[in-house]
């Protein structure tokens, strides 16, 4: 079998711990399914600031560009929060997305059976919630020109939100494609009653829609979407939206499932290449204690197998193993009802490896 190169970026906080468990899982699937991976580690985020003076060192970028997929833990922490812009972990994150052309962020938000009660939403409202947010990731107000200037009223700050037709087309097509593999429902979220970029967005969506006659399309204004996610979460299937709205809504969606510690995400570009990471952050408060939950990162591997490599057999095996371990009652502290019975990061990783 062809050897696949994996760029491994542990990052900050609990990142390295959870990534270590995900790699154990990948190694087990090498044995069982005959796949072959080559892992190479890179510095990124806060640790790269500390050791290399920049959140995204050139060698890390080279490593990612030479790899078939990237496995990322998490970046950031209070230590770097007050740094100037160039020396902040987030700047590295934006930089890597742009440099690798990862224009699409895919975040499944579903409810895990064992966490049904962890949500702050009523179980009957949550019932059946299983949605995907497809967020545009390399355009919009994140990447438009930003500056300060002297205005008539004193100093002013400016951010520019720009979208071109091509950028909107590719993300919208991808969302329609994903909708076709699911229940064929797509909600496109914008603020077309106020923003010019949203009007362009909506025009493009409406122009592409006839190519997917089977997909039921709705346009939802972003403020209304923030409400409807609360009111009828299970009625959504695929949600597609621009960068800033996607940042807000994907976090809202993840939180309402109650399963945020278990959710994985993929950032994709034109080809099969992708960057995979858990939705949760670097959790500096519990870093180094060996108590973090590796499941979201392990499930990110399953997502990588499906979306980048087409290794559906191994992806299924991972997802089944996670389910089996949870069904058997094993829990890390974050998801344990009785905290005294909680197991650690490595123990959870071992159980899943053995269950595969």
């Amino acid at each position: 079998t062809e050897v696949k190169k994996i760029a491994v970026i542990g990052g900050d906080g609990i990142g390295p711990e959870v990534v270590a468990e995900a790699i154990k899982v990948m190694k087990k699937t090498e044995e069982l399914f005959g796949y072959r991976f080559e892992f190479e580690h890179g510095l990124f985020g806060g640790i790269a600031i500390d050791e290399k003076g920049t959140p995204l060192p050139q060698e890390t970028l080279d490593l990612c560009q030479g790899a078939d997929a990237v496995l990322l833990g998490a970046v950031g922490g209070p230590k770097w929060d007050n740094n100037p812009k160039e020396l902040r972990p987030e700047t590295g994150l934006l930089g890597i997305r742009k440099a690798l052309g990862l224009f699409s962020n895919i975040r499944p938000a579903n409810v895990f059976d064992c966490l049904k009660d962890a949500s702050t939403l009523k179980p009957e409202v949550l019932e059946g919630t299983d949605l995907i947010v497809v967020r545009e990731l390399t355009g919009g107000i994140y990447f438009g020109e930003k500056f300060r200037r002297e205005g008539a009223q004193g100093e002013e700050a400016v951010d520019t939100c720009v979208y071109n037709v091509t950028e909107v087309e590719r993300i919208v097509r991808q969302a329609f494609d994903i909708a076709m593999t699911r229940s064929k429902k797509l909600a496109s979220v914008d603020k077309a009653n106020v923003l010019e970029t949203s009007r362009l967005w909506r025009e493009v969506v409406n122009r592409i829609a006839p190519e997917y006659p089977e997909v039921e399309l709705e346009h939802v204004l972003v403020d209304n979407c923030a409400m409807q996610l609360l009111r009828r979460p299970s009625s959504f299937d695929v949600i597609v939206t621009e960068n800033m709205f996607g940042d807000i809504l994907s976090d809202e969606a993840a939180m309402l499932t109650g399963s945020i510690g278990m959710l994985s995400s993929a950032s994709l570009g034109e080809g099969a290449f992708g960057l995979y990471e858990p939705v949760h952050g670097s959790a500096p408060d519990i870093a180094g204690q060996g108590i973090s939950n590796p499941i979201a990162t392990i499930l990110s591997v399953a997502l990588m197998y499906r979306l980048t490599f087409g290794y559906h057999d191994a992806a299924n095996a991972i997802e089944l193993a996670v389910k089996e371990v949870l069904d058997a009652g094993h829990r890390t502290g974050d998801i344990a009802v009785d905290k005294s019975t909680a197991i650690g990061t490595v123990a959870m990783g071992d159980l899943i490896v053995n269950a595969i």
Copy 2:
């Protein structure tokens, strides 16, 4: 007593029905407390488009500018949704905010006892939730330059988000002032890790904070805020944020209380003048049937009495009357558990008038 001029704008859908009940309530307080109002009606929104060819006719603007306060029902409906920009109700709304200098939108989101179970959130999570979103209303990406242009990748759309120091200062001061009258907790929401306008925002907040040493201030990133509103709604008191974020978060906050049909809002400028309206929309699907809930609009009158006129006695009387009527079990269809016992808009208005 001085006669106060009230510009009355029923607007579209259920707007005129609910405003009519609010005026009945105001008349009752004239009798009981000796206050004097002069009501003058203006066309605005969809109805103004139909009758005058513009959502915000000059005479309506003149009327508002000559008034002491504006009472607004709701605007918009599917009939005008596909109109060009100049002929859309929303354009009137943005125009009136700007023309009247209403830079601050204040939206209390609290839970009504009788609606405790109407929220999709678990009652124990919601317990004690009583927050106010203070949204900047005349700046940011809503009012910055917007245009299309030909770029290297084809047509592109641009929106510009601009904030100057003065704009941020006045809204932030107001939020601190409001926090001082409540539990002295302020959450300032921004996206300072990405946006230049947010970095300016945060600088201004930090510069003003020492003037309010008693207020406990936290900075929350907008994506995190969308999550925390779900996870710990009752821990928020006053939230202050820029226009676009405020649009999204105030709707999320309103919906999570389960009381959206009962929530009122105020839009304020420099002086005592204000525009008062219910948070809910024009509900075209139930317009004209006499079944809409007038309580949010009636409570908007109480807000007007407090914030513009300082008529606290009458404001208290209105709020108490609403509580009494609800405690006695009277419900409009939207909040009735047993729909067959629901009463209509006018009946609800009458009950509240009699209870004052």
